[in-house]
Each structure stands twice: as C-alpha cells, then as structure tokens.
C-alpha cells in the first residue's frame, strides 16, 4: 500500500516536471530532451513487447515534447523510389504524415503547407536495418561468466550516445538489433533501436518491437569455457548445456503451474516457488515470447539447433553468420528460419573455412529468407555495398538484394509490419542517396526516421540535425 502511494506520487511529480519541462523546451525552442522531461517511469513502460506502440509526440514512452523542427507533413519529390515490395517508381513522390508513410506513387496528394524535400535525380529507399550489431554496448557485449545468461538485458548496457550509432546512420541504417555476444550458448536479450542520434535513451528504443534473445554455438562458447576447463569445452558440451537449461526451465514452469492450480482450487497454504530471473527468461523462450537469434557457422550445428528447438517446442527466428547455410538451406527454409549472413567473410577460424560468397544466393534459391547483416561497427556503415555484392555473387534481382538489408531483417526483428519497405502505413524511415545505393559509389544524402530528418550530408560538421556539437 505504502509502495503504491509512493508510485502515484512519483507519477504526479513526473507529470508536473513534464509540464515544466515542455514549457521550458518550447521557450528555448530546444531539440534536446531537457533533464526535467525524463519520466521516472518510462524505462518500465518502454519495455519492448509490452503495451501498444507509442509514437513520438503522442504518449509514453517518449515524454519529450515533439521537437519544434519535426514537421507534420513532408513530401519527398522527384526521386527514383526503390519500394522493395512493389518495384521502382521513377520520378515518384512520398507523402509523410505524422511520421508515417501516408501516400506513395507517381504523384501524391499532400497538403499545401507540407515541407518539400527535393529528391530529383536521387535514389530513395527504406532505411537500412542491421539485424546483427553490437554497437552502443561499450565493452559489455558478453557476460562470459556462465554459458547460460538469458536474463542479461542489453538495454542495461545501452550507450545511446555512442558515436557508432551516428556513423551507421550516415551509412543509411535507421534500425538495428543490438545483440549479446556469442560467448554463451544462451546469451542475453537484445534491444531494437532506431538511430535517432542526439535524442535521449528511450527515444532511441524502437517502440513496441518484440524482444529477441541471442543463442550461440560452436567455437566461441567452446573456447571461452573450455579454456577455463569448464563445461562446455566441446560441441557435445555446448548442446547438452542447452538441453539441461531448458529441462530446468520446464520444471520451473511446472512448479508454477502446480502452484497456480493449487491457488485456483482455493488452497490457501500453497507456497509460491522462488522467482528466478534466469529460469523465467528461459521459460519465456519456451512460451514463445522471445525471438530466438542463433549465432552458428556449421551446417551440422544448425541441424542440431533445429532438433533441440523441436524437442523443447520453441521456434528459431534466424541463424546468424550461418556460413554453411547453403549446405542445408532447404531444411532451414522448411522451418521458416531466416539466414542472416555476411556476403563474403570466411577463413578467420575453422568453422568459417567453408564460407562462400554464394551462401546468400543459394539459400535464397532454396527458399530461405536471407538477410545481410554486419556484426561490425565498420560494415554496418556500408551494408548497401554488402547487399550489392550479392548481385555480383549470384545475379540476384534488385528487389531481392534490397530485401536482404530492409524487409528481411525487419522480419527477423519482428517489425516488418512497421518498417523495411516504402509502403503506406509504415514508419517513415527513409534514406535518400546521391547514387544507386547498391553500387560502390553511393552516399546517403538524408536519413529520415519517423518522418524527421536525423542526418543531412549537406550540413557542415557531423551532418546531424539533433546533436548539439558541444555534446
């Protein structure tokens, strides 16, 4: 009772501060979140996967007042639109309303007062989505103290001021999945961010995005724990650790089911089992609440991962790296699992020895959903050229190549209804390029997120629109 009243008080204080904050912000015409506008409750509210998606300028989680510069209506005019889902529109237009794509076509009906972005002679495509990134996590990518750490929340280490977010944005990336590392068979839970560099932490979180969890396999867990003479030191150990963990999670769920059944029957003496964060997180995997993203290289490991998933009744969303996916792509495709890979990395360790640059195209032809991702602070800045390589290695269509860095990673993240193509109703996350974006010589002129320009190459300094240079 006492706790609840304190909560209410904090909430009231929050609303009060917010009012003051927004007043100050309006006065200063500030684009920065003022400290007073930080809602003490927003971290809980903003937990992805809970509540309905909230838009900037509407309600929580973003308690910051809409920046004065954010235009309600924007029209991008005159470019070649690469829609991803319905081909090219030459000399087309897109109408953005309240951060969403409201219309797209040869011409659009936009209000007279709309801000016009002239894209004549330019290329317009959805913002790039990187389905495998470890930027903005400082050095806290791995919790390498136990091979099973599903309760690690990457959000707790999220360094939203990391310049890497900006540099990726300048390369056209508007959304990223920030994953736990691959030291552990079962790692931590990821966050999905939008690259709204310069804004506050919660404004960078992708509202309503489902929660993903990182698994790994192969040489990394073997090396990390094997070098300490701990389990796992082999692939046998790797997979047994997983089975053991899910077995414990099953028993944990059963103990709670038993307890709740007793309570339901009116048993007032029933004692609740101990709440265990780790087992709770594993239970969420078994309950299907988490998208499972698995780091793996070898074909045999992918098959074993699939059989364990079947045994314990959860689904795998994507195999990451998956350099040997081409060897078993039909089986991967049959399970509806995506292949998130690099175009041409190989040879840096034994499990990468059979990597070939045709992995993406073979997997595509066998029916898998293919993603090109970075896993690199460098490569995330130029995923467009990485997708272009798949045209070289396999002659895939423009649409297929584009999908690998837009709509397909959006699906891996569970946000394909929201982003990843130029379609009406989707978030207005759009990049404008000076040259054909799948070639070697293209630069991002503007990166737009939720209808607002966050990067503009023509500006002096960083090109950022929401960062005070003094920061």
């Amino acid at each position: 009772m006492e706790r609840r009243s304190r909560c209410v008080w904090v909430m009231l204080l929050g609303v009060f501060l917010l009012l003051i904050g927004s007043a100050i912000a309006q006065q200063q015409n500030s684009q920065q979140p003022s400290p007073a506008s930080q809602n003490p409750q927003s971290p809980e509210k903003a937990t992805p996967g809970e509540g309905k998606p909230a838009r900037s300028g509407e309600s929580a989680p973003s308690m910051k007042p809409e920046p004065a510069s954010a235009p309600k209506d924007v029209v991008i005019k005159g470019g070649t639109l690469l829609t991803v889902t319905h081909g090219r529109i030459e000399n087309g237009s897109i109408y953005l309303h309240n951060g969403k794509i409201a219309a797209i076509g040869k011409t659009v009906n936009a209000p007279a007062g709309a801000t016009v972005i002239d894209a004549t002679g330019k290329w317009v495509m959805p913002g790039i989505i990187d389905a495998h990134s470890h930027i903005a996590l400082r050095d806290d990518v791995n919790e390498p103290t136990n091979p099973v750490t599903p309760h690690m929340m990457m959000k707790d280490a999220f360094d939203y001021e990391d310049r890497a977010i900006y540099r990726a944005l300048a390369g056209g990336v508007t959304t990223s999945l920030l994953l736990h590392g691959s030291a552990n068979m079962i790692g931590g839970q990821a966050i999905v961010i939008k690259h709204k560099y310069g804004l506050g932490r919660d404004e960078l979180l992708f509202p309503g995005a489902p929660q993903s969890i990182k698994f790994a396999s192969g040489e990394n867990p073997k090396r990390v724990y094997g070098s300490r003479n701990q389990l796992p030191a082999t692939r046998m150990g790797n997979f047994e650790v997983m089975r053991q963990s899910f077995q414990e999670a099953r028993e944990y769920m059963r103990s709670w089911d038993d307890y709740e059944a007793k309570v339901k029957k009116g048993d007032k003496d029933a004692a609740p089992p101990k709440k265990d964060l780790k087992l709770e997180a594993l239970a969420d995997v078994l309950r299907g609440k988490l998208l499972v993203q698995i780091h793996c290289y070898r074909a045999d490991e992918m098959l074993t991962e699939m059989s364990i998933a079947k045994e314990f009744g959860y689904k795998i969303r994507a195999f990451h790296h998956s350099l040997e996916a081409y060897k078993v792509a039909d089986k991967i495709a049959a399970e509806g699992i995506a292949v998130a890979t690099w175009p041409d990395w190989w040879g840096f360790k034994y499990e990468a020895w059979d990597g070939i640059p045709w992995n993406a195209v073979i997997s595509l032809h066998k029916g898998a959903r293919v993603v090109i991702k970075s896993d690199s602070e460098d490569v995330t800045r130029r995923l467009n050229t990485e997708a272009g390589k798949i045209i070289h290695y396999g002659n895939v269509s423009e649409e297929d190549a584009l999908k690998m860095i837009t709509l397909n990673p959006a699906w891996v993240l569970g946000v394909d209804e929201r982003v990843g193509s130029l379609d009406v109703g989707k978030d207005a996350d759009i990049t404008i390029w000076n040259n054909y974006p799948l070639g070697s010589n293209a630069l991002v002129d503007k990166a737009i997120i939720d209808g607002e320009v966050f990067f503009d190459r023509s500006l002096p300094g960083t090109g950022l629109t929401h960062l005070k240079e003094a920061q």
Binding site: I362, H392, T462
Partner: protein, 431 residues
C-alpha cells in the same frame, strides 16, 4: 641514389619476369572497352597477347594475328590485373590457428633479416579466391607487430611453385611506428621498449649499428685490398640482421613506413630523414592534418584501410575522404586490402573512395599503375600497353563496383581458370 635503387629493383623485376613468356598461344580480346590506365579508354578495342606479353592494343581496326584465339568481349570492360599493395597471402590459412600462421616473428622488435619469401606458401587456398576478382599481383608483408618485422615480397597470383610466383624477393622493408609494436603495456613488468621514445631509440640504434657494421666491413675491405693487406686480420663477423638493413640505408630499396596518427607520422619521418631512407608511407589514417607536409615529402602513400573508424570528434567520413584529399594534393596513392582472406575486395575500397571524391580513373590507377610505379615494376605491369606483361582482366562492368563480375583473368598471357575451393563448394551445393 634514387636512380640507382630504381635500376636495382627494375633489374630484379626484369629477371623475374624473364621466366614468363613461354606461353605460346596467341589470344585476342575483341570488342571490349579497354581501360588502359596509361592512355585513356578505347571503346570497342582489340588487345592481343602473345608470348606472355601484350603484343598489340588499339581500336577496332587493330590487326589480329592469324591463328589467334579470339574472345569476343563486346560489352565487357578490359583492364590491367590489379595490384594489392599489402597482403598476407601465403602466410596464413586459418587466422585463428597459430600453426597455419607465419605472419610475424615476435621474439624481438627488430627483425629485418626475416624474409616473407621463406614462409610463402604457394599452394594456399587463399590465392585462387583472391584471383577470381582480378587481383593478379600483390605485396606479401609480415604483420605489423614488430618495428622492423622483415622484408616484403612481390608476387604474381599464379604459378606452380613459390619461385614461379615470387617475382621480387625482399622488395621492401616495413618500418612500423603505430604505437602497437611495444611488447607489453604492464608498467610493473615493463620491458624495453615500453614507450614510443623507447621504440624510436631502439630503431635509431639499430640503424646506427648497421652503419657502423658497414664501416667496419669497408675498412676491412680497404685494408685487405691495400698495401697492408696482411695486417687486415680476420674479417668482421657477419651479422645478417645488420646486413639486411644496408640496402635500405643506401636508399636502394624503399621502407614501407606505417604510421596512423599525425604525431607518429612525423616522428617516423624524422627518423627516415636522419638516415636518408626512401619511403613509401603506409596507412596515415588519422594524419589528415599534415597532408601538405606528406605531399611536400614527395613520397607515395598506401592509404587506409579507409574503413578504419574516424576519431570520436570527427565527421563520419573523415577517413573515407582521405584518398581524395591526398590525390588532390598530388600525393601518389595506392590501395591495399591489408588482408589475406579478403584480398578480393581490393577494388571495392578504391570504389568506395570514389563516393567521397576520388576520381574513378585515379581510383583505378591506385590499384594498377601507381603501385606498379611505387614498387618499381611499372616497366612490366600496371597498364595496358604494348610490351607489358599480359596480366589482363575482363569483367561485366565497372572494375570498382561491387556488382561487377569478373569473367576472365589472364596472367602472363594465359587464361587462369576462375575456380577455387569456394566455387567447388558452390557447384556442389547449388543444384
């Protein structure tokens, strides 16, 4: 001195290239767009290869010898074989496995008597992988963990054995001053050299020791050939380490001076000047503030990797822009993959630099003629000119574009099959 050194290198190269030229088939490429690099673009051109060399190049009317094998390359682009100015090809197989790596001798910072030619593994699986994107020649360098890690070799990416592929052994000596050559950074267990001061002092001392060594040798020789020959005594003990430095102290061969930050570049330049070293700069990734000084030195630069991150305070494209900024100042640049497994991506770095202002023809030059000149092999390589070695690439588009697929590679005028370990796996599983 510079002239003398060039003559020396050219002689070495000429000897190496003399091995080639036994291939008897005459091949003519007809109808392609020839990017000559040295004298512009020829549309619908003809290029003839004979005895391992380019025997003719010109427009559609260029005579094709009778009996030549004619390959129609209409719609294709034809350009010189690409030259990668720093690789570790033949020194590594699986990066994570130490037993397959011969990239660095870590027992001392000063190891100029190491020769990568001694470790070069001609049958490496990595060379055919690099080759199918049109890379035909490369520098093989030790990695950068030592101040003087040993001498580079210049290779051709085809041949049945190491001697066939090693065109120039000991072509240059890397001189690394990036701050990463110190052995440990634990103050309590510090071992000399622990600082940049220490590394610079150690390097200077080595160069001075080599000069002294040479003086002693010369004094002995002089005495021995003079009237007091009997009093000359025993010759000075031969020291391979110091001996290895002599061609570089004479400026006969270049040192490849690797530094990243502006201050390191200048410290290393000071040392190079003190000892009259002939320099090819390497990296200069964070030295944009002193490019005018670099230009004034007249020395060329292996630029990059341009994919290095800029400093935190810098604009996102501070490093991407470097090649263009250097070229604008008249600095001769070359690109390198600085890698082994990803040598095939060399042209894409040059291509990416064009997005940031490097003219495309200059970008192509920086992976062909510029490195050929820098390494003293431009008599034979680097452009499509009559008389040069027929290292020629045919592709379906712009050589610098990631989408472009290489269709033919000729080395010494003979077509090299575009197969490797990876194409075998592709063909096995892509059914």
């Amino acid at each position: 001195m510079l002239k003398r050194s060039l003559v020396a290198v050219v002689l070495l190269a000429a000897a190496a290239f003399a091995q080639s030229g036994e291939k008897s088939e005459v091949i003519a490429l007809r109808g392609g767009k020839l990017l000559t690099v040295s004298h512009g673009t020829i549309e619908h051109g003809v290029l003839v290869m004979q005895n391992g060399r380019i025997s003719a190049i010109g427009g559609a009317n260029t005579a094709i010898p009778k009996g030549a094998k004619v390959i129609d390359v209409t719609g294709m682009t034809v350009y010189p074989g690409l030259i990668d100015s720093e690789t570790h090809l033949g020194l590594t197989e699986v990066s994570a496995d130490r037993m397959t790596n011969d990239e660095l001798e870590p027992s001392d910072e000063i190891m100029p008597h190491m020769h990568v030619a001694d470790a070069f593994h001609a049958e490496t699986a990595l060379i055919p992988v690099a080759r199918i994107n049109g890379i035909t020649n490369a520098i093989v360098a030790p990695s950068e963990g030592d101040t003087l890690p040993g001498q580079d070799a210049f290779i051709q990416l085809d041949g049945k054995s190491a001697p066939e592929m090693l065109l120039v052994r000991d072509i240059a000596l890397p001189l690394n001053f990036t701050g990463r050559q110190r052995r440990n950074q634990n103050f309590d267990q510090a071992k000399f050299p622990f600082t940049r001061m220490g590394m610079a002092a150690q390097l200077r001392q080595s160069l001075i020791d080599a000069q002294d060594y040479e003086q002693k040798l010369n004094a002995y020789e002089k005495k021995k050939s003079g009237p007091d020959a009997e009093k000359a005594g025993a010759p000075p003990k031969r020291d391979l380490k110091l001996e290895a430095l002599l061609p570089y102290l004479h400026g006969q061969k270049p040192v490849v001076l690797a530094a990243e930050e502006a201050d390191d570049v200048q410290t290393a330049m000071d040392i190079a000047k003190e000892f009259h070293l002939r320099v090819i700069f390497n990296h200069l990734t964070h030295a944009s503030s002193i490019l005018d000084k670099v230009a004034a030195s007249g020395f060329p630069v292996i630029v990059g990797p341009i994919y290095e991150q800029p400093k935190e305070s810098e604009r996102y494209d501070a490093v991407f822009r470097l090649p263009a900024e250097m070229q604008k100042r008249g600095i001769k640049i070359a690109f390198a993959s600085f890698d082994a497994h990803q040598v095939r991506n060399l042209p894409y770095a040059a291509g990416y630099a064009t997005a940031f202002g490097l003219p495309p023809e200059e970008a192509l030059k920086a992976i062909t003629l510029n490195p050929a000149q820098m390494w003293g092999v431009d008599k034979d390589l680097g452009s499509l000119d009559t008389g040069k070695v027929a290292n020629v690439v045919v592709a379906n588009g712009d050589p610098l574009d990631v989408r472009t697929d290489v269709k033919h590679v000729f080395i010494d005028g003979a077509e090299v099959p575009l197969v490797n370990k990876q194409t075998e796996l592709r063909d096995r599983y892509w059914k």
